[in-house]
């Protein structure tokens, strides 16, 4: 079957092709034949199969994702929108920022280290291909229970992979998430986010324009990595069987990627490049068809010129290979020599593999024979679109009716004390230092905030201090209880985290991790989450700039919690005035902003103490969330607060404990008269934050809150002299005082992960 040429395909219409094994359905195959007016060659079939897979074509999600465009808020900040490698937003002073999050879930389950490493590598190249210098990465992660055997297998490797790749590239890791839930056992989520910066004039797009321009492939040689990985791994569930495959594991070479970054930025800044595209999923198939369909319209490629690592690869395999650390540039002929010189300087192999034509066809030649001749749009953009059936799960009503009100709550000081110590050590609330200490947060010298702060913040302009802050969030339990509002809550939380740091939220990216789209109940969760996020972004005036969908995250019939991870990017005009979470000054006043209701459904308390999930998640009012944001940003700008920290998982108690541990200084706190001490401690009502106000600014601060009608409650005062050692002392706990020492809290907070995953330093 090898060397199936176009000529051969025309002459042998009856040949049976293994399209089903490649994940191509009967009707899709029929459509390919209709488009081409003949049967596809094997190479063409390979291209269509991989480009029309769920992962590349978004065939199940497209009909829903279009809401992000339809409900797009009017924002002047959007410079490049959805549909490119990554969206680009204007942050002022001529600076533009691009950011995007992508999943590498299944590969990381199969080979944790390399799966996670190449996940980072892939998203960094997406950012690079916009013309931006990558400046930071983040890694929202989800695992099964912390003490589960398979978590012990995947977690250390995934962390080492994220770190190994990012550290070697010289990108600071400024944040992420580590969440444990039984539904992720067997389906860990590895989402990777990258932020890049550039001047407006440096924005580049993936298009092949200009008749006669050269198509240059540069970076690593092509091997058999992940052949069919995209379609086979991303579009079917985990069963093996099927045809023998080339290694489905891709190995990353971060050193090569570092060279590729420097080399790419140099050729871009030298003005040598017309269009540029990274090679990710679907490799050369994707890059050539996307570049061609977005440009002058045609391309001729000599595939046998592609440098190979493995000389036994067939042309079909070369087209599908997902070998890492490769880029493709469109270069005018007169610039080729200079382009090659720069590549040589960086020791990057570059090969002229084709040229831009105006034929409207993507033609690929292999040793003198034509093996592909297709309209590129049909490969890249006109894939199948499914209107998958969906319906509200039959169990949804029962789940929402199963409220946590019947769960036993602590009723005495000693019971609450015991609960606090247990919660402080809960894997989801405990310090993630075991993880983040394996990541370089300092490199590049622009990191202003990183873990464990609410958002990661980097300085963009060293002269003016302009910078950006990013946070990613999602409470999958809320999303399970109510996917529509769960998505809004995820957006609100990320928005709040950025605001807490003093930055103005500007734009959104997302990674939608769900179970199988073939399950109508999962599809309902997905459609509701997208609707919620699109409505939320419209209301908050933060456009979705891009994202990624990962389906089939399920084991058997059990899907993961619906996990629409939302990333919010904000801008701050001077990073000097950022707000961090640690209080410092004795006598500073501790205020809780926002209203506290009896919100324990889906809470960390219900999960950790009772293993319970049911009821309705906290209500979310995005108008109020925006008010809170304005207060936090204004307070930072006017110097009214010395510290701030958002309230989310683990409620106010967890927020205060984290602030105290970060500070190393104690505080005297009291429970407001109108609240039950337990509800005060562990309710997870949305739209709240704890702020620390110097006495001299108290009046101005309260006036600002009152002017907006925003609830503000004084709940304590920073005090390092309460006892011989540093303590949190809480008054009005059922008329008694509850005292916790920082040393006992720290012990609980820091010991959990090392006890499970083994000791490291400190």
């Amino acid at each position: 079957m090898s060397m199936d040429t176009v000529k051969n395909a025309s002459e042998t219409p009856e040949v049976k092709q293994p399209y089903l094994d490649l994940g191509v359905k009967d009707d899709e195959y029929a459509r390919i034949r209709e488009i081409l007016g003949r049967r596809p060659t094997n190479s063409e079939l390979a291209m269509y199969s991989v480009m029309w897979s769920e992962h590349c074509s978004y065939k199940s999600s497209k009909v829903h994702l279009k809401q992000f465009g339809e409900k797009k808020p009017k924002s002047d900040a959007m410079l490049v929108g959805i549909g490119e490698n990554a969206g680009v937003v204007d942050i002022g002073d001529g600076w533009a920022v691009t950011f995007k999050v992508e999943s590498h879930n299944h590969p990381s389950f199969v080979e944790p280290y390399q799966g996670a490493a190449t996940g980072v590598g892939g998203i960094v190249r997406d950012i690079l291909s916009m013309g931006a210098r990558p400046v930071a990465v983040m890694d929202p992660l989800r695992f099964g229970p912390a003490d589960a055997k398979d978590t012990a297998r995947v977690l250390p490797g995934i962390i080492a992979g994220v770190g190994g790749y990012g550290n070697c590239l010289g990108l600071p890791n400024i944040g992420g998430e580590v969440v444990f839930d039984p539904t992720y056992l067997g389906n860990p989520l590895v989402n990777a986010l990258c932020v890049g910066t550039m001047r407006h004039e440096d924005i580049h797009l993936a298009k092949a324009s200009g008749l006669g321009n050269r198509v240059i492939l540069f970076g690593a040689a092509t091997g058999g990595d992940g052949i069919g990985g995209v379609s086979v791994l991303a579009s079917e569930t985990f069963e093996d069987g099927g045809p023998a495959k080339r290694p489905s594991v891709q190995v990353g070479d971060p050193f090569m990627e570092k060279l590729l970054i420097e080399c790419t930025l140099e050729v871009l800044h030298a003005g040598l490049v017309e269009g540029i595209q990274d090679l990710g999923g679907a490799g050369i198939s994707c890059a050539t068809s996307e570049l061609a369909s977005n440009g002058t319209g045609g391309m001729h490629v000599w595939l046998d010129r592609v440098p190979l690592r493995d000389h036994t690869l067939s042309p079909e395999e070369i087209l599908m290979s997902e070998s890492q650390e490769r880029m493709c540039a469109i270069v005018p002929p007169q610039n080729v020599e200079k382009f090659m010189e720069i590549c040589q300087k960086w020791d990057v192999v570059a090969t002229d593999i084709g040229e831009v034509t105006d034929t409207g066809r993507l033609v690929i030649e292999w040793h003198g024979e034509i093996i592909v001749d297709v309209p590129p749009r049909t490969v890249a953009h006109d894939g199948p679109v499914y209107e998958r059936p969906y319906h509200r799960p039959v169990w949804q009503d029962a789940l929402q009716a199963d409220s946590p009100s019947k769960l036993a709550r602590p009723k005495t000081v000693s019971e609450l004390r015991e609960t606090i110590l247990k919660m402080t050590a809960a894997p989801n609330l405990a310090s993630k230092r075991w993880v983040t200490d394996q990541y370089d947060r300092y490199v590049l010298g622009n990191t202003v905030l990183s873990q464990p702060e609410d958002s990661g913040m980097v300085r963009v302009d060293e002269t003016t201090g302009r910078g950006v802050a990013v946070s990613t969030d999602c409470n999958g339990r809320f999303a399970k209880l109510d996917p529509y509002n769960g998505a809004k809550l995820a957006l609100a939380e990320a928005y709040r985290n950025v605001s807490v740091s003093g930055a103005v939220p500007l734009a959104v990216t997302n990674c939608l991790n769900f179970g199988s789209p073939e399950d109508p109940e999962v599809m309902w969760q997905f459609s509701e989450a997208v609707r919620g996020l699109a409505d939320g972004c419209l209301e908050m005036n933060t456009p979705v700039t891009g994202g990624n969908v990962s389906f089939y995250n399920q084991t058997g019939d059990v899907a993961i919690l619906p996990t629409p991870v939302v990333g919010v990017l904000g801008v701050i005009d001077d990073v000097e005035r950022r707000t961090a979470m640690a209080w410092r000054e004795d006598g500073d006043l501790i205020y809780l902003l926002g209203d506290t209701d009896d919100d324990l459904a889906g809470s960390e308390w219900a999960h950790e103490i009772h293993g319970h999930l049911g009821g309705l998640p906290p209500k979310i009012d995005l108008q109020k969330e925006m008010q809170l944001s304005q207060i936090l940003v204004a307070a930072s700008r006017d110097g009214l607060i010395n510290a701030a920290h958002d309230v989310s998982e683990g409620g106010v108690m967890q927020t205060l404990i984290e602030m105290a541990i970060r500070s190393g200084i104690g505080a005297r706190l009291w429970v407001p008269d109108n609240l039950d001490p337990f509800v005060f401690a562990y309710s997870e009502s949305a739209t709240r934050a704890v702020v620390v106000v110097p006495r001299s600014e108290e009046t101005r601060f309260i006036e600002m809150c009152n002017a907006r009608g925003f609830t503000n409650t004084r709940i304590g005062v920073v005090d390092s002299k309460l006892a011989d050692e540093q303590v949190l002392s809480i008054d009005n706990v059922w008329h008694e005082t509850l005292v916790l020492t920082l040393s006992e809290l720290s012990k609980k907070h820091f010991e959990t992960l090392p006890a499970i995953f083994g000791p490291t330093v400190g």
């Binding site: 550290n167 394996q438 300092y442 010298g445 990191t447 000791p759 490291t760 330093v761």
Partner: protein
């Protein structure tokens, strides 16, 4: 020697160097002028001192610093260092100095097997080297540490000699983050012009982006050493 007010400190970029910009920034904050040096260019461009920055030169493949040692610029650097040129190797730079035999011993995988990034407390043990002059002996500082292969080892005889000659320039305090022998964080050569340090003082020169500004004296030290040399 160029004018001291603007002493020219070269920062070498190898393929895979990562903290080169940070080192250059630290030089400038200290009052020097940073000069970019390129691994493939066998020329030190008349600089007054050289910094080998942190990173993963050549991906740290084979052994950290093993491949960088053979870069064209290193041939010149070894000769100049032996002639008294101040050279400071930070992290990967320290590894390169050991591989080049400008400093004794070697750096091996951390004893706990993980890459570690933390704010590390150090005690300065020597203020006679060209890079530690502006410290006082016994001074405690906190600077970032980030490495996967930072365990300093040498045979007992070498370790004893380093101690006896006062060539241990800094030691880890509170925790030994990588299993280094005798808590050694940094050493110098006999003459005191070549210094290697595992932690990263260049990330502690600005309170905005570092945990402290405790790293700055490494960079001012060389400027005052050069000045003293001229007088």
């Amino acid at each position: 020697m160029s004018e001291i007010s603007g002493a020219r400190i070269g920062v070498v970029t190898f393929p895979g160097s990562l903290d080169d910009r940070d080192a250059a920034r630290a030089v400038q904050i200290a009052g020097g002028t940073s000069v970019e040096l390129w691994h493939g260019d066998a020329n030190l461009h008349d600089v007054d001192a050289v910094i080998l920055p942190g990173g993963f030169s050549y991906g740290d493949y084979l052994r950290c610093g093993a491949i960088a040692r053979f870069a064209p610029v290193m041939e010149k650097l070894v000769v100049a260092a032996n002639g008294g040129l101040p050279v400071f190797g930070i992290c990967n730079g320290f590894q390169i100095l050991c591989e080049s035999h400008l400093l004794p011993g070697a750096l091996i995988r951390n004893d706990h097997q993980h890459f570690v990034c933390r704010d590390q407390k150090l005690r300065i043990e020597n203020n006679t080297s060209m890079w530690t002059k502006d410290f006082s002996v016994g001074q405690e500082i906190v600077v970032p540490l980030k490495n996967g292969e930072g365990g300093y080892i040498a045979d007992e005889k070498t370790l004893d000699a380093l101690e006896a000659e006062g060539r241990v320039i800094a030691r880890y305090l509170d925790v030994n983050p990588n299993g280094s022998r005798r808590d050694i964080a940094g050493i110098s050569n006999e003459r005191g012009n070549v210094v290697g340090l595992m932690p990263h003082p260049e990330h502690a020169v600005d309170a905005l982006t570092g945990p402290t500004t405790d790293g700055l004296p490494f960079f001012t030290s060389v400027l005052s050493s050069l000045l003293a040399g001229v007088k």
